[in-house]
């Protein structure tokens, strides 16, 4: 085979691939973590990306997974985690990414609830919105995310007073739009509990020691109205542990 290295050196040729590698991966992370990039400013974001990629070279055949370890990387990094709200912002943006790839389930629960006899309610099990992700952040980072295209580069996130409901609920709408809500600690407990394969009566028994969660029971109707609960099933059987695992990883 003749040597075709005319016009460009071997180093020039390898450099095309080497340069493209970092640029391509940086672009993926820029798209998936827009608010983090704006808050840090381009230069610091690129530096964070370089640190991340050095520690976490892409591991999955699908490049969409590239950012899956980004929040955790920052959370445990001695320097990067000190940047106020950065770990929560990365958590939020990855949650948004995941939620858009969740299936859509039509909302039936509100209508079912209105026609349900009181006796039947005790047998109710709940099909929750599979797109829901919970992010712990007392700061109102969702407002900053919604306003991300109007923010100045490198403008630090000033969020004012912490929110009394520290769990940010992220989920998708029918058209793929991102929806936010907030849970208190009690609501989060209830949310976790209703993922168990058990009836509402069993849920109430399990919650009896958790005042806040018991108070949150009144929210169930509201969750159905807002589409957080998609469907109500009447079933006295207690299901299995496999279902429980699945429900919990969703939140």
């Amino acid at each position: 085979m003749k040597n075709n290295c005319v016009g460009a050196s071997a180093l020039d040729r390898v450099s095309v691939y080497a340069d493209a590698y970092f640029l391509r991966l940086k672009e993926i992370l820029e798209n998936d973590f827009e608010l983090a990039r704006v808050c840090l400013g381009q230069e610091r974001f690129v530096s964070l990306v370089a640190d991340y990629l050095a520690a976490n070279p892409p591991f999955h055949p699908d490049a969409a997974w590239l950012g899956s370890r980004f929040p955790r990387f920052v959370e445990v990094h001695a320097a990067w985690r000190r940047i106020e709200h950065l770990p929560e912002i990365l958590d939020l943006e990855w949650a948004i990414n995941e939620t858009l790839y969740s299936p859509w389930i039509d909302e039936k629960a509100a209508m079912q609830l209105s026609s349900l006899a009181a006796d039947d309610l005790s047998l109710a099990q709940f099909v929750t919105d599979p797109s829901v992700r919970l992010v712990f952040s007392p700061a109102l980072i969702e407002d900053a995310w919604l306003d991300r295209s109007n923010r100045s580069e490198g403008e630090p996130l000033e969020t004012g007073r912490d929110c009394a409901r520290p769990w940010l609920v992220v989920r998708r709408g029918a058209q793929g739009e991102v929806k936010f809500a907030r849970f208190s600690d009690g609501e989060r407990l209830l949310w976790r509990e209703i993922h168990r394969p058990q009836t509402l009566t069993q849920t109430c028994e399990n919650l009896s020691n958790w005042d806040e969660a018991v108070a949150a029971l009144a929210e169930l109707g509201g969750w159905a109205q807002r589409g957080l609960i998609k469907e109500i099933r009447l079933n006295s059987s207690s299901g299995n542990d496999e279902d429980l695992e699945k429900g919990e990883t969703q939140s």
Partner: protein
Amino acid sequence: MSFLGFGAGLRSPHYSDVLSGRVLEVDWFEAISENYLGYGEEPAGRPLETLLKVRENFPIVLHGVSLSIGGTDPFDRSYLKSLRKLYEIVDPAWVSDHLCWTGVHGHNLHDLLPLPYTRDTIGHVVSRIQEAQDFLGRRLTIENVSSYLSYASSEMSEWEFLSEIHARTGCGLLLDVNNIFVSAHNHAFDASEYLQGIPEGSVTQMHLAGHSSNEALLIDTHDAPVCDGVWQLYAEALKRFGRISTLIEWDADIPVFERLEEEVSHARSIAQRVHGSPILAQNPNRSRKDFHQPSGTQVSVGAT
């Protein structure tokens, strides 16, 4: 393989144009498989729901970028399972990926790296294509990549390598005319000789795209209109291979949809000139059954 006409790569900035219901200059779309896989056990989510809406009116081809058909790591089974499920859901006219490797030792470079063109590599690639085809339950169509380097160990030309793999696996060829043009410049070979070296009847599809230049090298950037030299080479390819489904790729600095339609329209007019008969735009409201026979795979339309 069916002739789908003249298509475009489906990209998210154009979703609303594609779903607008107006008659488009584009007959069919090619979607990047990985954009629809998601993170769950099965493909789901808004992008897939959109793709399925597009598919109601247009034939779809699924084009992958991560199979690493020339790689030496074992195939990632969970990735292959997701791909297979996506194929079941979308029921594409055909599926394709690239003749390249994309990573090694569990690290993915997310780039399309060239292979050394040797007898040993042919044996390796042939067995990988057969393994992937068996697992996916589909015939693969394989695309030539653009490249910036070649290996001292290569024993044959790229077209000989590609033709031998086609002959031994029965895979279809996706001839990227722009990639031939780019690589011909970068490695100083004759692009016409490349076309002459590919067997007639082996080509399922052609790609056209724009490129940029980096001093001595041409770079396959997909960020510009197709250049005159590539249009000329396309006309030459049509003369050799006949009516072949053709697709415009535009992935960076993505223009308004109408600009993309102009490129599609230009490809159509060249084909009409070469083949001497009008090749009309398809009606987007026409049932996709009119374009190609479904494979018989059960199609599930709500993503679950």
